[in-house]
Subunit: 124 residues, 4 copies
C-alpha cells in the first residue's frame, strides 16, 4: 500500500527553508490560552511568488496516549502578487489544551510538496 | 436577483460579539511586511463550543481604484473540544502592500452566519 | 460603512464566464440526499492557468424565513499546472435539506474577484 | 523525529467506514478531463452529525518518478445539521493529467483522525 506519509519531508529549519517552525511554550497551564505561531524557514527565506510559494499550513494536536490526532487549524495564504498584495507564510492563533501532547505542523509548497515538524507541549 | 451580500452583517465590535476586529497599522510602507491580526468581539467573548463557534475568517484587500478585491488569506479554526483541544478565533499573518486600499475581514458563526468589517490602510 | 457585498458580481452565465452555475433539482424530498454541482461558465470557458484561474467555490443555504445562511461546503481547486496537473473548477457534493430555501454559490477568480449566483429549491 | 505520517490510517473500504474511496478511470488520455470522485465507506455509512462527522478530503497527485506530490483539491463539508442542512462526504471534480502516477485521497473524521487511500492512473 502506498502512503502519502512517505512524502512528508522534514529537516532542520536552520538549513531547510521549507520546514514549518512551531513557536509555542514548552509548558502551558490546562485550559489557559497560549499563542501558537507557525512560520517557515526562519533563517532562510522561501520564495513568495505566484510560480513558487508556500500555499498553506495545517496544524494538528496529538494528546499523549490518544489514538488519533485532532486538527487545530488550517491556514491558507492566497495572495501571491495579484493586485500587488503578498501574504507571507506566517500564521498565529490561540489554543487551549487540557492534556500534554504533540503539536504537528504541515506546510505545502506548490513546487516542493509537503513538509512537517512537531513540538511537544507539557500541560501542568 | 438575490445576493449573499444581504447576509453580510456588521456592527460595532464593542457591542456585537460576532464582528471581526481588524488589527493593522493605519499607515504602512510600500512592500514592507506588517502584522495583520483578526480577532472576534474583543470586548464580548463569543462561545467556542462544538454546537456554537466561529468557524473561519477570510481576509481580502481592495486596492484603491481597483475593480476587484484580492483574497489575502483563509483561516479555519477546526478544534472545538474534540480531544480536549480548543482553537480560539484569532488569526495573525504578515502582509505586504504596494498601494493604499481597504482590508475586509469576513467571519462565519455556524449558528449566526456571516459578519464583516473593514479598515483602510494608507501606503506611504 | 464599506461592505464586501459591493464586490459580489453576478450576471448571466451564458454570457459571463465567471458566474458559478448551480446544478440542482428544483424540488427535492425532505431529508433525501441530492447531488449539488457547481461549475463555471458552462458556455464560455474560463482560463485555467497559474496566472489566471478560478481558485474556489463556497456554497451556502438560506432556509426560507431564517435569519442566517448556513455554509454547506468549501471547495478549493489547487492544481494549476504544477506537475502537469490541472483541476477544473467543477465541484459536486451531496446535500440533504429539511426546508425550502435558496442555495448561494460564490466563486473567486484570482484576477477578477468574487462572483455569485443563487437557486431556489423547494422541499416537498 | 515524530511524523504525522504514523497517523495516516488505511484499510479496506469494504470493511472500514473511514477510508476514502477514489473513483476514477484506470486509464485516461493525456490532457483530457476526467471526473475524479471521492466518497467515504461506500459499503458502511459513516455518521454525519455535529458531534461526529467527516470534515474534509484533500486530494494529491504524485506523477511517476517525480520527487514531490501536487495538491489537486481541498473539499470541506461544513453543514452538519445547523439550519437542518447536511452535507454528505462526497466530492467530485474534473482533472487533467499529462503523466501517469498515483492519486492520494486523505479524509479527516473529527473523532477518528486521518485516513488515506491511493489509486494508480495510467496516462496513455
Ligand atoms: Fe519551495
Ligand atoms: Fe454566534
Ligand atoms: Fe477571471
Ligand atoms: Fe469517525
Amino acid at each position: 500500500m502506498k502512503t502519502l506519509g512517505q512524502f512528508l519531508q522534514t529537516g532542520d529549519w536552520k538549513g531547510e527553508k521549507h520546514v514549518p517552525v512551531i513557536h509555542a511554550p514548552e509548558k502551558v497551564k490546562a485550559g489557559e490560552g497560549f499563542d501558537l505561531k507557525v512560520s517557515i524557514g526562519d533563517e532562510i527565506k522561501h520564495p513568495n511568488t505566484l510560480e513558487h510559494h508556500i500555499s498553506w499550513f495545517k496544524v494538528f494536536f496529538h494528546p499523549e496516549n490518544a489514538k488519533f490526532p485532532v486538527e487545530i487549524g488550517d491556514f491558507k495564504f492566497t495572495a501571491h502578487g495579484e493586485g500587488e498584495v503578498l501574504d507571507e507564510p506566517v500564521a498565529l492563533t490561540n489554543v487551549k489544551l487540557n492534556k500534554s501532547g504533540t503539536i504537528y505542523a504541515v506546510s505545502y509548497c506548490n513546487i516542493h510538496g509537503l513538509w512537517e515538524n512537531s513540538k511537544e507541549i507539557v500541560v501542568e
